[in-house]
């Protein structure tokens, strides 16, 4: 599903990743952890082509991202659900339209019933007409997750999805992600919250990847 071969990445004049090689199989659940500024967000961005490696090769769905044109990159992203650290909504559009955005850009119409069910699944029933700035941090994170899964993508990349929410909400979001994994989706979650990783143990068979000293390591045995 995702394959890195000898990937090196520099950012703002310093090397973040050096000779990283990894392979995430389809249907797997991985946590990506490491200290702040270690390159977790950059590694996630490499996976959907927002950043390009200085050296090495990134393959997603068997496609070398370095060889993809702009339109092919856009098409590839439609198969990925991305939960960004700062959510990134269109603030002038109501929540329902924001959640349905991946469908619209792909030229599809959102089915109202399915949209309502999806919003209910993430606990946002009744918020369909709200504008993003009016939502709380937790609501925004859940809305971002709903937007990420609306096209039923094969791969979900979540960058600090519980960064701005309380523990109870973090567990809810974790449950949503593990449910998606049970549905067969490949999930990669970047987080610095070790408690979240521990909380996942009873729910999912996940592996933990750790960025340490520009290298990617498999942290211990399976959880």
């Amino acid at each position: 599903m995702i394959e890195f071969q000898g990937v090196t990445l520099g950012y703002a004049g310093r090397e973040l990743l050096s000779d990283v090689t990894m392979k995430l199989p389809a249907g797997s659940f991985h946590f990506l952890t490491g200290p702040s500024g270690s390159g977790k967000t950059s590694l996630i961005k490499l996976c959907y082509g927002e950043m390009t490696p200085g050296a090495g090769r990134v393959e997603v769905f068997g496609q070398d991202l370095g060889q993809l044109g702009r339109n092919a990159t856009a098409q590839m992203r439609r198969r990925i659900g991305i939960v960004h650290q700062d959510c990134q909504f269109l603030d002038h559009l109501p929540l329902a339209e924001n959640v349905a955005l991946p469908l619209h850009v792909a030229g599809h119409e959102a089915d109202d019933t399915s949209l309502e069910e999806l919003l209910a699944w993430v606990g946002l029933s009744g918020q369909a007409g709200a504008l993003p700035p009016a939502l709380s941090g937790g609501e925004r994170q859940r809305a971002a997750l709903a937007r990420a899964v609306i096209t039923s993508p094969d791969l979900i990349l979540a960058d600090e999805p519980t960064g701005n929410v309380d523990w109870e909400m973090s567990l809810k979001l974790l449950r949503l992600l593990t449910e998606l994994n049970r549905m067969g989706k490949t999930v990669l979650v970047a987080t610095h919250d070790m408690n979240l990783i521990r909380a996942a143990k009873p729910q999912v068979q996940a592996r933990v990847l750790r960025i340490q000293g520009q290298k990617l390591q498999l942290a211990g045995a399976d959880l």
């Binding site: 959907y48 082509g49 927002e50 950043m51 390009t52 702009r70 339109n71 990159t73 856009a74 098409q75 590839m76 992203r77 439609r78 991305i82 960004h84 990134q88 909504f89 269109l90 603030d91 002038h92 559009l93 339209e97 955005l101 991946p102 619209h104 850009v105 792909a106 937007r147």
Partner: protein, 308 residues
Amino acid sequence: MKHRLARLRLRINHGLALLTGNPRADRVVPPSGHTAMLTSLTAGAMAFLAVFALALSLATGRLAERWSGALAKSATVRISAPAEQIDRQTSKVLEVLETTPGIEFARALTEDEIRALLEPWLGPDLPVDSLPLPQLVEITEADQGFDADGLRLRLQAEAPGAVLDDHVRWRMPLISSANRIRSLGLFSLILIGGATAAMITLATQAALAANGQVIRTLRLVGAEDSYIARAFVRRFTLRALIGALVGAAFGTLAVALMPAAAEEGAFLTGLGFSGSQWAWPLAIPVMAAIVAFVATRMAAFRTLRTVR
């Protein structure tokens, strides 16, 4: 060749798709009243000026045509000779003119006609009889024209007091001036088009820069560049079209309200449109929309290339 045609068809379809629009795609760009108003205002002002530049070009074009058309077809022979020789020389001149190929018609002006010609300068009580006025012979050219140099030689031989004036001496500078003014009008139109394109490009770039977050979000969820560009292109093209329609309408109205050239001044013609030329201002909003379409599209794709 087939590939080229297919590519061209694709581009045309793509261009039409950009204009037909997708209301949902349009909504992804937040409304921006200030930029919208400035774009429409700029397009309107430019269209207003363009109508005047167009009117100037067309009027000077008509002027040049009239001067070259009316004067090129006529010439004059002036006979200055002692009173006892003037009738004989006039007859000789008419004989020569009758046998000159390319001359359709020639006749000697009567005394009254000569007096009428001099009246604006010397007043109505001109004592023609007591003045040694030259005899004038009016020539109307045939379509193929005549050989002026050859005619001058023949006139010199037959009637030494006859001088041929084919109007070239003063007609050419006038036509050249009119053509230069027409060129200036056309150049003004090009400048107005360029300025409109520059203003709309700046407005688009400002709008794109202000909507960086929107563009990044759209790319994140898999939007292709054409989807994002379409919303901006359509919005700015329509703003330019509407602004230019209003500006061109006011410009045309202003030209229509200008005083018409008087009958005596018809030779100089008025600043305005004539006949089917009144349809020309309709082309200005269309041109403004095309300029806006191209400028916005280029600016949008250039900016989009900076976002992965």
